[in-house]
Subunit: 465 residues, 2 copies
């Protein structure tokens, strides 16, 4: 007798937690730190405030050189979470505020919950969330995740008067981890986060009680990312049907100019006539066949302006160069920011840096990958940047000896949608448009390195005489 | 004003369909064929019947050498789906019959729906399902997936008298695809599926109308995989709490022997005394701290018998060798089946084959990967087998010249839970226990190849005299 079953999204990601980056206690501890720090950075950015993030990992019980129980505490000065959203934001999988078309670190409505869930299934203890949005009160919740139902179970709730006008979030829970095995990755993650978020201050207290301070490098927030409208090139039938169902406009002309990115009256008129559709027709009157026709015309019409990347918030060449110099202390750095491009209607910007020598001691090419200012430290050989560096760049052309010269290549991609191949955000798919920008970015900075290396060689040869 | 949102699992996988292997029309067509064929093979296996699977891909409109609209039709003679489960099985994401602890190709309750969903969002047409479980009636449903609600929308429903006593499933829908770009992968997939499922007959009619027949190689089904109980080593707090909540037994002794794999009275008694727990205690009386203690003791107790792999259904050395010989026609084949092992309480068996020369023309080592009799054709460089072949085997020790000799290595892993790293089942995580079995399996067959190569060389040298 075949038994059918429906499982909740929390149950799905509990059963398949290695797919979300929670494979074993060492890896889970890393994922826990990254998911919480990324939430805090997003929160500060959303209210344009210089981030102050405090991470404390305390050893609670068990051996220090193996799997043990830890307490994790992350405190930020970001937007905070409104009171009635707190239990769901931290207790319901596939719930969040980042399902918009906007450059954010978060994307799935899952990360924070995965960390909390892993802590719960290894220690059976609840999570404590304290937050205020700067209102008159501070709210505290103690809750667990009902995994089968995908719902928070509130065990306790308090509120205090917000005497210090505090705003932000404190997350605290217990989890099984293996700090001995994951400490170098965790410290690398924080170091690289500081490198591409130089306006953030991060304080990390490790299980031995050591204080690691990643000081603010600049005192100014970069322009905030903005939410944008979908581009016609990225539309499919489902997306179009939803826009039609929710729209208040009464004509196809207004439909095109209101709901799509960079579509003005002239473009809309030209498009609709080419598609053979009446500009005055009510979009809700489109037949099922018309909808498919409209989607196909949208994908193929050559007259749409490409996505505008003004909604994005890249690092910028100045900050990228400064970050590389501060972290890697090389003898030479070159950076470049590629012109904005797009894939499937999503705008993106690629920024590439190359660094050589100085404190970079490891021979060969070391790759540093970033997406939306998140360091990616796992599965590098599956990533599009790795593929570019290893299969598409002839390093000998740039006088770089790939087994001897100490070179670092830094690639940052920012977009309203990063094409991660995994739910754990480990590596990025090799979309042709993105590959194209990375190749060209690497070529530009590699050429500058080549000039530096040949200049250096000339100087050495002259000295030898 | 921060806007929070909950999205359904269908919405999540619609928005992130590239994470499930539906990246572009070419890749989506491949994923569509594989998901439906794997469902049919599981269905036949579940009722112990020799599979007859018919796949037809018809070109409907658009160019034949680029993105176009296709109709896909897959018919099997498997278990069929009971009438009231049909709409949910094909219209609700995270719904299925494979959430059991049993070796099946399916695992996520998602694959068939992803294919149907992709067809729906590219063509706006519904899916037609016809099925019977061999009862007096055959049922036909025409439905779409309500993505926002994650529910099927039934557009039409018929039933016929089952005059031929038919049992099985027919799935039919329209989808955007790119056969020109994905045909070689689709044919490879079917060829390799035939290689490791020699008892199946697969007929594929491609868009040009060509018939590809993959004939049955053997007329006997292998022993069917069986559902098994969880092993103590694989338990976490959530899993234990569910077993406690659902159990009818009244003592911890009975709890251990009833709900866990290979735990007899003597083992249970020894375990409970070592854990300091009373064998007569009612499991529902365990405190929250006791539960955590119990989980930790279960993970660390040395006296449990390792997971028994009699629930698994491997290929077997005879069939693996025959499949390799039939498909690759090499000059030499060696195969080995490793002893059963386990990771995190899940039993698994690794089978490795090596083939050399003959019709294998491509110089170098070509890797063929299989998990639960599914061919894995993407992202090989991220897979544990690739890592083993490239980083852990010194081929020169086996007299194999890795840039010249035409060698194929075949790795099959079967388990009650395959540690896929992605929802699209593209590659397998490098769990140490699995890595260990693959390395040793490869060494065994590589050694046999070495003997063959040195024998061959000796013969050639003698002839040269
Ligand atoms: N420190 C924080 N400050 C403010 N809001 C937060 C914080 N942490 C989480 N949130 C809120 O909770 C929501 C859920 O967070 P969660 O990490 O589970 O998902 P996400 O960040 O939206 O996406 P992802 O799964 O990619 O991380 C967020 O969208 C955000 O609105
Ligand atoms: N051809 C078929 N014959 C019988 N049952 C089927 C068939 N196709 C699908 N089903 C049923 O529908 C369910 C859902 O299928 P679906 O492919 O969506 O998920 P799954 O196979 O369980 O897991 P996965 O996502 O890993 O493929 C299956 O579990 C099975 O019970
Ligand atoms: Mg998050
Ligand atoms: Mg399936």
């Amino acid at each position: 007798m075949v038994e059918f079953q429906e499982i909740s999204p929390a149950d799905f990601f509990y059963r398949n937690r290695d797919i979300a980056g929670f494979t074993n206690p060492a890896r889970a501890l890393y994922s826990t730190v990254r998911e919480l720090v990324e939430n805090s950075l997003d929160a500060c950015e959303s209210v344009g405030i210089l981030p102050n993030i405090y991470v404390r990992l305390t050893h609670v019980s068990g051996p220090l050189d193996r799997v043990a129980v830890f307490k994790i505490r992350v405190l930020d000065n970001g937007s905070g979470v409104p009171e009635h959203n707190i239990p769901l934001a931290f207790g319901k999988v596939l719930y969040g505020s980042k399902y918009r078309l906007k450059q954010t670190r978060g994307a799935f409505g899952l990360g924070g919950k995965m960390a909390i869930l892993y802590g719960q299934i290894t220690t059976n203890k609840p999570v404590r969330i304290v937050s205020s949005t700067g209102s008159s009160h501070v709210y505290e919740y103690v809750l667990t995740v009902d995994i089968r139902k995908n719902e928070p179970k509130i065990l306790g709730k308090k509120n205090y008067e917000n005497v210090n006008n505090w705003r932000g979030v404190l997350v605290e829970f217990y989890t099984e981890g293996d700090y001995y095995r994951s400490s170098s990755r965790i410290l690398d993650y924080l170091k690289q986060t500081a490198m591409v978020n130089p306006y953030a201050e991060i304080i990390f207290v490790d299980p031995r009680g050591y204080l690691h301070i990643f000081e603010r490098g600049v005192d100014e927030m970069p322009p905030a990312p903005k939410e944008t409208l979908p581009h016609p090139y990225g539309v499919d039938v489902e997306a179009l049907k939803r826009i039609i169902a929710d729209t208040k406009v009464k004509s196809l002309m207004e439909f095109m100019t209101t709901h799509f990115h960079r579509v003005g009256k002239a473009t809309a008129y030209k498009f609709l006539s080419e598609a053979g559709l009446n500009p005055d027709m009510n979009p809700k009157k489109l037949s099922q066949e018309d909808i498919v026709k409209l989607v196909n015309h949208m994908k193929n019409f050559k007259g749409f302006l490409p996505p505008d990347a003004s909604c994005l918030s890249p690092l910028g060449e100045k900050l990228l160069k400064a970050g590389i110099e501060k972290e890697l202390k090389p003898e030479f750095v070159a950076v470049t920011q590629r012109k904005p491009s797009s894939y499937s209607g999503y705008p993106f910007i690629v920024e590439v840096g190359i660094a050589y020598g100085g404190s970079i001691l490891k021979p060969g090419i070391t790759l540093y990958r970033f997406s939306n200012k998140i360091p990616l430290l796992y599965d590098e050989t599956s990533d599009v940047s790795w593929k570019v560096l290893n299969e598409m760049i002839d390093w000998s052309r740039y006088k770089v000896e790939v087994t001897i010269d100490p070179v670092a290549v830094i690639v940052h991609i920012c977009s309203t949608k990063i094409p991660y191949k995994t739910v754990g955000k480990e590596f990025i798919a090799d979309r042709p448009e993105i590959e194209h920008e990375i190749i060209n970015g690497v070529r530009i900075v590699a050429r500058q390195l080549m000039l530096h290396l040949s200049r250096k060689k000339r100087v050495q040869m002259e000295r030898a005489r």
